[in-house]
Symmetry: C2
Subunit: 349 residues, 2 copies
């Protein structure tokens, strides 16, 4: 529905994968001193002589993680990078390099991949990361993107999932649930479009949540802000699968429990109104929605004054002894166990 | 045809990706001092404080790069690692870590992924590399494996594609063409099997070439041998797409030309007899076949004495001035230009 049907189409068949990767990456520059050699040899060469390296990888599959009927390819390229950078920032590290591998069927013309790479290029520019490698190959069906991201940090700055202690405060950046509701809006409009292809949807009331879904931003700024505020998170994770699932990861890795306060969960007004429209419970959406790519972290209580009143951060709970378990304290002051209801690609939607 | 139809089948649907990756990787250990933290956090943490890091990534797609009707899953896992380690060794570096990401449709039971990971585990053990990350997700069709490999080397040891000089000798490890002919044998048997599923093929005359296709070995030993012989390759590349294509990569990157001598190309006797059987020209098979994962490198003429007579190495030509171009000198002493006829996944077979 957002697709331009008049696009120029150059078949990939006669281009070959060497020329394809050359063509797609010719305008990418290396900006980090740690990026010694990028694309063009058997491997990239990197120099991490004075810091630790963090490494993460994620795959996005058409029909599972994205739907090209409403996901513009440029946004998809951007998002594929964000998903991975988010994992680097969740280590409290600075992202420095990425590799991108793509498998595509022949139904995609070269111009489609150029669109995709323009989103990747924008992400590299805005987040200051170097593209240093990758692979392009054909698939028998659809598109698949595999990204690996590397980052650097001083050893003592790295925030693991395992460092939370009882009484640490649980903090989240930004607000939650928007990406999931944006997806609901897009899915609804897709169904409308199937019935009436001439219908032009008015998405303007949903701008914020649709952008959260189509063009998420990884929280590079949070890592920088924590450094500036001199706050070292005791543990950290990014929210890709929903708040409840990420809390359980932190608790399990740190061998602690957690009390999460329902009335503290940060929600954008658009999220609240969309929840009313879709007859969904906003707390459930925040707990299980996923794809917000906010950072969830714990801090020592002594650091509370440093983040207090900061508009980027909300204290949503605190950690407890492991034996106390993980609970949501509702607005009605009842205590219900938190269960993992995050998104699972093997179960589908 | 090599599939056991009586396998136990545990559906992936109800396992979830967190438990899946935990389950599949629980027996993997970290052996390198540079592997500080592996799977289980947002990112792996690596320590490369005294050496340069090399990074490479490759994708294998079912129906494009492999056919599960004759490729056992354990072999596939092993090969997926080899393909990437080969790129690390082609930098004259020591492979240290890998990440594995897999997209699979629900037609694969858990036991299939366990088989795949048993091959990955074997490769990690034999080649001394640590599995430090990855992703598992569902696909709408088939299986796709994306591997990233990291390695380390001292700066002055790294061999790029770009360092060859005129008069350098062109050297190849092992022998060529076997993997391609192994594929021909397997494809032929697959056709026979389609006609008569009870036919049990006798592959014993083809053991060597079938193994070259199904279970290639990356040439870790060559990197170690060159170190021991005190030979620093002036340029190096691995032969994944066929000799001609790799020679052209070296020549182009190094801004040199090349004379390749047909009568020097190392061929196993099984390759020669299979070529007769399939009515193929053995030189063409070596030039264009691909997937042998041997190393192709150049050395200074002064290093010739160090490798002379070594059974692992064959001098197959020498580099020239760029303006002289790239030529094959045939047995009949005619000079024909080398063209890239390596394997191109966008063109199919």
């Amino acid at each position: 529905m957002l697709e331009d049907k008049e696009q120029k189409r150059t078949s990939l068949d006669n281009l070959g994968e060497f020329r394809l990767i050359e063509h797609l990456t010719e305008n990418f520059n290396l900006n980090h001193s740690s990026s010694k050699v990028g694309i063009g040899d058997d491997a990239a060469v990197l120099d991490y002589t004075d810091k630790k390296t963090v490494l993460t990888t994620d795959m996005l599959v058409e029909g599972v993680h994205f739907d090209l009927s409403y996901m513009p390819l440029k946004h998809l390229g951007y998002k594929a990078v964000m998903v991975n950078l988010s994992d680097v920032y969740a280590m409290n590290a600075v992202a420095t390099q990425i590799t991108i591998s793509i498998a595509v069927s022949n139904r995609f013309p070269l111009e489609a991949l150029e669109e995709l790479y323009s989103g990747i290029a924008l992400a590299c520019k805005l987040y200051n990361v170097d593209l240093v490698g990758g692979d392009t190959t054909s698939s028998t069906k659809g598109m698949l993107i595999s990204v690996t991201a590397l980052g650097q940090a001083q050893d003592h700055k790295i925030a693991y999932r395992s460092g939370a202690k009882p009484n640490d405060l649980l903090v989240v950046s930004g607000d939650l649930g928007g990406a999931y509701l944006g997806l609901q809006v897009l899915e609804r409009e897709k169904e409308v479009f199937k019935v009436n292809p001439n219908n032009q949807p008015d998405l303007s009331p949903y701008t914020y949540i649709v952008e959260r879904q189509l063009k998420p931003e990884a929280r590079k700024d949070v890592v920088e802000l924590l450094e500036k505020l001199e706050v070292q998170p005791t543990s950290m994770i990014d929210i890709s699968d929903g708040l409840s699932s990420e809390i359980l990861h932190l608790s399990k890795s740190s061998k602690v429990g957690c009390n999460l306060f329902e009335d503290k969960i940060p929600l954008d007004p658009t999220v609240i109104s969309a929840c009313e429209e879709f007859k969904m419970d906003s707390t459930m959406v925040a707990l299980s929605g996923g794809e917000d790519y906010e950072l969830l972290f714990t801090i020592d209580q002594n650091d509370f004054e440093k983040i207090k009143g900061n508009p980027h951060f909300t204290v949503i709970g605190h950690m407890t002894e492991e034996k106390e378990g993980n609970h949501l304290i509702t607005r009605a002051n009842t205590k219900i166990p938190i269960s993992a209801q995050g998104w699972n690609s093997f179960k589908g939607e």
